[in-house]
């Protein structure tokens, strides 16, 4: 802060963090799905912004937008993406992926849990296999 007024850059940074914190618990906001995507793909706010082709500061208003309704998904995504200046196809893919994963996790594990689904663990383990092992064979289907 400088003098009597708070530093505008500091205010903006705190607001972004605040939006991130609060929308993390509200699935009806896009921010909820963005954060789930960051967890799934192990992204930071910066890398997420790069992926969406938008400045980091633009993620706060995007996160506050309403999540697309399943029946009007394409139209809603288009409206949100054009308003916030992000690529609609990238945003649609991201939202679809996270919503599908959530729905899948809900059917395979009815009780909410912090543990990842078994297939996610299996996928992660497969990534850890040493080079040259059978599962690493590029010629395999």
């Amino acid at each position: 802060m400088t003098g009597n007024s708070p530093d505008p850059a500091d205010t903006r940074a705190r607001l972004l963090q605040s939006v991130w914190r609060i929308t993390a618990d509200t699935p009806d906001r896009v921010g909820y799905w963005l954060q789930r995507h960051c967890e799934t793909e192990r992204l930071t706010i910066t890398t997420l912004a790069v992926k969406l082709g938008t400045p980091e500061a633009a993620l706060a208003p995007l996160a506050l937008c309403r999540s697309p309704h399943p029946e009007t998904f394409a139209e809603d995504v288009q409206a949100v993406a054009s308003h916030c200046g992000v690529n609609p196809a990238t945003l649609a893919n991201l939202l679809r992926q996270e919503q599908t994963l959530t729905a899948w996790a809900a059917t395979t594990n009815p009780e909410p849990s912090a543990q990842p689904a078994n297939w996610l663990i299996a996928a992660h383990d497969a990534d850890q296999l040493p080079p040259g092992s059978d599962d690493d064979d590029p010629g395999r289907d």
Binding site: P6, R12, I22, A60, P61, P68, V80, H83, C84
Partner: protein, 190 residues
């Protein structure tokens, strides 16, 4: 970035985004100036919550955001003050300050008197008292005790010191049994 001259969107899907771009910084800075010593993150959270609470039907948006954020901030501050109060209350109170867990001055005096009486019963001669003092200071080897008491530096002196220790042990054992009979503890009750 939006400008003040642009009309706010009436689209509920992006309404909050518009409010954020138009008013978040202004409202946050006004609140920060008013509540100078408050954690700026609390202020930011209050503003974000106000934005999510607003709807396109709100007439005076800036007024609504400011008053709603201020209200949320007051609630957050009150709960923070209550929490800090509880933390201070419990961190300042030491366990031994409690009457139940710490001896009163009268209890401490009584304990000292009882200890002195027990000491007199255990060690009746100057030799016994010296042995007890040395034992309480960590001497448990008869050879060392013999040397400290000025006894002959041979087997006889060592045996004499060992007898002094043995006598003291027996007396302490008897003293414990006597104390147990007079004041049985929960462990002594079958």
């Amino acid at each position: 970035m939006m400008t003040d001259s642009q009309p706010l969107s009436t689209d509920a899907r992006v309404w909050a985004a518009d409010l954020f771009l138009r008013f978040a910084e202004t409202v946050t800075q006004r609140l920060c100036r008013r509540y100078r010593n408050v954690d700026p993150d609390l202020v930011a959270d209050a503003v974000t919550e106000a934005i999510l609470a607003a709807d396109p039907q709100t007439e005076s948006v800036l007024k609504f955001l400011y008053s709603h954020a201020r209200q949320r901030l007051r609630v957050a501050l009150r709960s923070q003050i209550r929490r800090r109060g509880r933390e201070t209350k419990y961190s300042d109170r030491r366990v031994t300050d409690d009457r139940n867990s710490g001896p009163s001055p009268a209890d401490a005096t009584a304990d000292r008197e009882l200890a002195a009486a027990a000491r007199e019963r255990l060690a009746t001669t100057p030799e016994d008292r010296a042995t007890l003092n040395l034992w309480l200071n960590g001497v448990s080897d008869p050879k060392v005790l013999a040397r400290q008491l000025g006894l002959p530096a041979n087997d006889t002196g060592t045996q004499q010191a060992a007898r002094l220790f043995a006598r003291l042990r027996k007396r302490i054992q008897r003293e414990r049994e006597r104390e147990r009979q007079q004041h049985p503890t929960q462990d002594d009750v079958p």
